[in-house]
Structure formats: structure tokens, C-alpha cells
């Protein structure tokens, strides 16, 4: 028994030592920017994840929403009340709670579309880099063409086309998935290009030749052997694109082609609140906007830091 315990202990110590030795970890604890942005990102994510428990009100429970409370300013202004920390909107919903629920959808769409884009991009990059020749040429040509259009425009176009195809009534329920699909399809190119160039280097290495010689199926070589070696840069791209994906979602929702107002994301909240800007109720739109900016800024800072920390040329 003690042998096992000491083995676990040794393992733990080994793990800790390795972590302390790790360049990335070292760089992390010495960078205030990285620590602060991680904390902020985590706070917002946790707030969003546990929105039903953290939020002081349920903005979508019709029984608890009172029209008498509509358009109340934040507590530090005349007529504000402390039960609504950031004021209320036109239907008496608590803006702070709406932000918590809204960031839930924003972050969900962001994560899902980045995962979706990365999945497509990594597979395309692996195949193109490993196959070479005509397959590579065709895939990269498509990537080039798509890259010459801004991602947000492509997302807008795909979203618009899908809106045309799908029936109106059902659309609200699947809006989130349509968004994930459009954003994912417009963001895959960068992964594909990066992975492809790494694969072209890995392809000539001995371990790949060895697995070819012993007759492993191509699928195994690609996904079990090459893929783990080319995923490093994917993480950096994914972090930076997470911020972009969240902005894209917010923008599409703001333009009215994203998440419907029945279960609003941050972008939808801003769109809805924008109508009240001119009558002086600025908090309905500005606070969701602020939440969006803080979230995106924190993720961007983290991504910037990660890119610099992983790039030895900049040290």
C-alpha cells in the first residue's frame, strides 16, 4: 500500500516539478496581464455558466417581471433601486441578470463555433498537407479564395442564405446552431493553413516513415501520430478566434440576423437597447456593450500573451 502511495506522491511531485519547470507556467505567473485577463475571463464564464443561481432576477420568468419596474435607471441615479444593480429595460427586466444570461449564449456560440472551425480546419489541413498534389492544390485554392473575403462577411452571407432556406417559424429555435455553422464555416481557413504547413514538415520525419513502413492505415497515421504534433499553434489561433467569434456573433445579432430576442445574447441585448438610446435610457444598451468589450478584451489579451509566450523569437 505504502509503495503505491509513495508512487502517487512521487508522481505528484514530478507533476508539480514539471509544472514549475514549464516555460509557459513560468511566463504565466510572471505576467500580470495574463493573470488578470485569465481571472476576468474565468469570472465572466463562471457568472454565465451559473447564471440561474448568480443572477438576482430571472429576466425570462414572466411571473417575476413587473412592468411597473420598467426603464428604471441604475441605483446611483435618481429613481434607481438597489434591487436592480444596472437598471431595468422597457419590460422591467433586470439588465444585470439579462447580461449574465446573455453572455451565456454569447460564450456558448463563441466556443461552439471555434471548436467547429478548428475541427474543419485541422482535418482539411491534415489531409491537404499529407496528401499533397491535386488534393492539396484544390483545398488550398478554396482556402485562398475564402481568405480574401472577411470572415464576418462570409458569416453574414451564410447566415442570410440559411435564413432564406429555413422556414420562419422554426428559425428562432435553431438560430444558435445556424450562427455556429456560419461562424465556423467562415473561420476554418487559418487552422487549415497552419496545420497544413506543420504537417508538410512532419510528413518527412522518421516516425511517420516508420508508421508508413509497418503499414498503419493512413487514418491512424494522420490522427494518432501526426495530429498531436501539430496542435500547438491551433491553441493560439483558437484563443484569438474565440474573441473574434464572440464579436461576430454579437455583430450578427446586433444586425438582427443572429439570436432572436426571446433568448437574447449580448448582441441582441445591445440591439434591443439601442432603440432606447435616444430617449436617454442609455444603460439598457451600454452595460451589455461594456460586458461584451470586457470579455473580448480579456480573451484578446490572453491570446496575445499566449502567442508571445509560445514564440521564442520574441523573447
Amino acid at each position: 500500500m505504502s509503495e503505491v502511495e509513495s508512487a502517487i506522491d512521487a508522481d505528484l511531485i514530478g507533476w508539480r516539478a514539471r509544472l514549475a519547470d514549464n516555460d509557459l507556467f513560468h511566463a504565466f505567473i510572471h505576467s500580470p496581464t495574463a493573470i488578470v485577463s485569465t481571472i476576468v475571463t474565468l469570472l465572466i464564464c463562471l457568472g454565465a455558466l451559473f447564471a440561474p443561481w448568480v443572477a438576482p432576477h430571472d429576466p425570462f420568468d414572466l411571473a417575476s417581471v413587473d412592468l411597473m419596474d420598467s426603464l428604471l435607471p441604475p441605483p446611483w441615479m435618481d429613481g434607481g433601486s438597489f434591487s436592480f444593480l444596472l437598471g431595468t429595460d422597457d419590460q422591467g427586466r433586470d439588465v444585470f441578470s439579462a447580461i449574465l444570461y446573455g453572455s451565456r449564449i454569447s460564450i456558448l456560440v463563441g466556443f461552439l463555433s471555434v471548436i467547429f472551425a478548428a475541427a474543419i480546419g485541422v482535418v482539411v489541413g491534415l489531409v491537404a498537407g499529407y496528401a499533397g498534389g491535386l488534393v492539396d492544390a484544390i483545398l488550398m485554392r478554396i482556402a485562398d479564395v475564402q481568405l480574401s473575403f472577411p470572415a464576418i462577411l462570409i458569416a453574414l452571407l451564410i447566415d442570410g442564405v440559411l435564413r432564406g432556406i429555413l422556414p420562419r417559424g422554426d428559425y428562432d429555435q435553431i438560430a444558435v446552431y445556424v450562427l455556429v455553422l456560419s461562424i465556423g464555416l467562415s473561420f476554418w481557413v487559418q487552422y487549415a493553413r497552419t496545420v497544413r504547413s506543420s504537417v508538410m514538415i512532419e510528413r518527412t520525419k522518421e516516425y511517420v516513415q516508420a508508421s508508413q513502413v509497418i503499414g498503419l492505415p493512413t487514418r491512424t497515421i494522420l490522427f494518432r501520430h501526426i495530429m498531436p504534433n501539430v496542435l500547438g499553434p491551433v491553441l493560439v489561433i483558437a484563443t484569438i478566434q474565440l474573441a473574434l467569434a464572440i464579436i461576430t456573433e454579437a455583430t450578427l445579432s446586433f444586425l438582427g440576423v443572429g439570436v432572436p430576442p426571446t433568448s437574447p445574447s449580448l448582441g441582441t441585448l445591445i440591439r434591443v437597447g439601442n432603440d432606447y438610446l435616444f430617449s436617454g435610457e442609455w444603460w439598457i444598451t451600454i452595460f451589455p456593450g461594456l460586458a461584451l468589450v470586457i470579455l473580448v478584451l480579456a480573451i484578446n489579451l490572453l491570446g496575445d500573451w499566449l502567442r508571445d509566450a509560445l514564440n521564442p523569437r520574441l523573447r
Binding site: V145, L153, R163, F254, I270, G280, V296, N300
Partner: protein, 323 residues
């Protein structure tokens, strides 16, 4: 050189054909074009007749070829929503978008390039760090939020500037210009700034990164060793060599300007092509969507071609390889 340009030209035509295919598929298969054109009380015979007259019974390839032929002459049919020819609609909206984009691009270049150079030369300076932080905030601020904030501050609180529309315009031939009237200019300020900030942050970061890269190059070190003046090194040698990649990005930027113009126009209700497109999406107005798609693809292809050719002019190394 000629071969290179021809090759690029062939590629561009291919891209246009693919985009045309998408636009055509949209037009033909999203909803029924006949349903969108006629009223409720049209009889089945009339529908069949219209179907035959529009050539919707022909084979896919024939219809596709006809679509391209029409598109080449600018004929995209009628808008379902506005019941006007699409090409007229776009021509009517084009000057608004063009003026907005041009003013914002000039603004972004005039401010962005000096800022980028400065931050590269004084890497550790306080002001440089300030600029970099600002540019990071600029990237994190979505375009539509910049617009909303400007509207709140200068439109609602201070009441200095108009918050929507284009103001008074002057008709010059078929072109309408807002650059010549007071209300036109004051309406332009906020949308132009909104559209410029995104480009500016990118230009600053790009120029800075390229400058830093070039300043490390051997020929710059050699120039220093020769004892050339820092000003000569920085501007005649370093800045000049950053121009090639910067040119590509600025060329491609024009694409993002089009994309972000859609957002800006939507925030400020600016009567340009972007607003037309957003309204087309909301109403599933396919002819307008298809035409806009083709127009954007065309602009992109032309810009890419021009940038590629400019490479040859700017970078002598490419000319040697090309031979």
C-alpha cells in the same frame, strides 16, 4: 510579367464563376422565383407561362450561362421587396458607400501609419505602450459599439452631430455627393470615424510588426555600421521595405471596409449598399442579395489583381524571379 498577370486573370475569372454559381443557386433554388414575382391570385397557367418565359424549365447549365450573361451586363432582375431593377438600386446607393469608405480609409492611413512607425521606433516608450493598449482596445471594441458610443456622446448627450442619414446631398450627374454640404459633412463624421477605427488599429499593429522585423534585418544593421543617419535608415530603408506586406493588407482591407461598412451603415442608417443588403437579408430579397454578392466578389478580385501587379512594381526581387 505578362504570363503572371494572365495566370492571375484566369484565376480571378474562375473565382467569379464560382461566386456566380453560388449567387445563381441562391436565386434559383431559395424559394420559388415565380412565387416571389406574382401575386396570390395568379392562375396556374399564368405561372407556367411565366416559368416558361423566364426560362426556368431549361437545363441547369443553360440557366447558369444565361445568369452569367445577364450579370455581366449588370442585369439582376427586380428586387422582390422594392419592385425596382436591382442594378438601379445599387447604382443609387453606391456613392453613399463609396464616400464613406474613402473618407474612412484616408483617415485610417493618415493616423495609423505614423502611429505604427512611432511605436516601432520607440518600442519601450510610454507613448508607444499607450498606443498599443489603445489599438488593442480598438480591436476588442466591435464596430457597432463604437458607433453606438459615438451616437450616445456626440448625438444624444452633446447634440453636436446628426445621428442618422446622410444629410443634404448634391447631385452631380448620376452621382450624389454629401461632401459638398455642411449637413452632409457633419453627418459623415461619426460613420467615418466608426469605420476608420477598426482599420487604424490593424494598420498600426501591422506597420509596427513589419518595421520591427525589418529593423532586425542584416541590411539595416549594415546601414547602421556604415554610419548612415538614423533618419535615413528608418525612413528610406526600413519603412520602404515594410511597404510590400502592408500594401497587401491594405488592399485586402478594402474588403473589410466593405464588410464593416454594412455594420456602420446599419448603425447610422446610412443609405448605402450595406444597408440595402441587410434589409435584403431580413426580407429574403434574393435578387438584391445575389447582385450584392457578385458585386463584392468583383471588387475583391479586381483589388487582388491590382495588388499582385503592384508587387512587381515595388519589389525588384519578384521581377528577377519572374524571368
Amino acid at each position: 510579367m505578362l504570363l503572371f498577370v494572365l495566370k492571375r486573370l484566369a484565376q480571378s475569372v474562375l473565382v467569379m464563376l464560382v461566386v456566380a454559381l453560388i449567387a445563381f443557386a441562391l436565386f434559383r433554388y431559395v424559394g420559388d422565383p415565380v412565387d416571389s414575382m406574382v401575386g396570390q391570385d395568379t392562375t396556374l397557367e399564368q405561372r407556367a407561362d411565366l416559368r416558361e418565359r423566364l426560362g426556368l424549365n431549361d437545363s441547369f447549365l443553360v440557366q447558369y450561362a444565361r445568369f452569367i450573361g445577364r450579370a455581366a451586363t449588370g442585369d439582376f432582375g427586380q428586387s422582390y421587396r422594392l419592385r425596382q431593377p436591382v442594378d438601379e438600386l445599387l447604382a443609387e446607393r453606391f456613392p453613399a458607400t463609396f464616400e464613406l469608405s474613402l473618407v474612412s480609409a484616408v483617415m485610417a492611413l493618415l493616423i495609423g501609419v505614423p502611429m505604427g512607425v512611432y511605436t516601432a521606433l520607440n518600442r519601450r516608450g510610454l507613448l508607444s505602450r499607450g498606443f498599443m493598449t489603445l489599438s488593442l482596445i480598438g480591436i476588442s471594441l466591435p464596430t457597432f459599439l463604437i458607433g453606438i458610443l459615438l451616437i450616445l456622446v456626440f448625438g444624444v448627450v452633446l447634440r453636436w452631430l446628426p445621428t442618422f442619414g446622410r444629410g443634404d446631398v448634391v447631385q452631380v450627374g448620376w452621382w450624389t455627393s454629401g461632401l459638398m454640404t455642411r449637413s452632409g459633412l457633419s453627418s459623415l463624421i461619426m460613420p467615418a470615424i466608426t469605420l476608420a477605427i477598426f482599420q487604424m488599429t490593424l494598420i498600426v499593429r501591422l506597420i509596427r510588426a513589419e518595421m520591427l522585423e525589418v529593423l532586425r534585418a542584416d541590411y539595416v544593421k549594415f546601414a547602421r555600421a556604415r554610419g548612415l543617419k538614423p533618419r535615413t535608415i528608418n525612413f528610406s530603408i526600413a519603412l520602404k521595405n515594410t511597404l510590400v506586406p502592408v500594401m497587401t493588407i491594405i488592399g485586402l482591407q478594402i474588403g473589410s471596409i466593405i464588410a464593416f461598412a454594412i455594420i456602420t451603415e446599419s448603425v447610422f442608417q446610412w443609405p448605402g449598399m450595406g444597408l440595402l443588403f441587410i434589409q435584403a437579408i431580413e426580407n429574403v430579397d434574393i435578387p438584391v442579395m445575389a447582385a450584392y454578392l457578385m458585386l463584392i466578389a468583383f471588387i475583391f478580385v479586381v483589388i487582388n489583381l491590382v495588388v499582385d501587379v503592384l508587387y512587381f512594381v515595388v519589389d525588384p526581387r519578384l521581377r528577377v524571379q519572374g524571368r
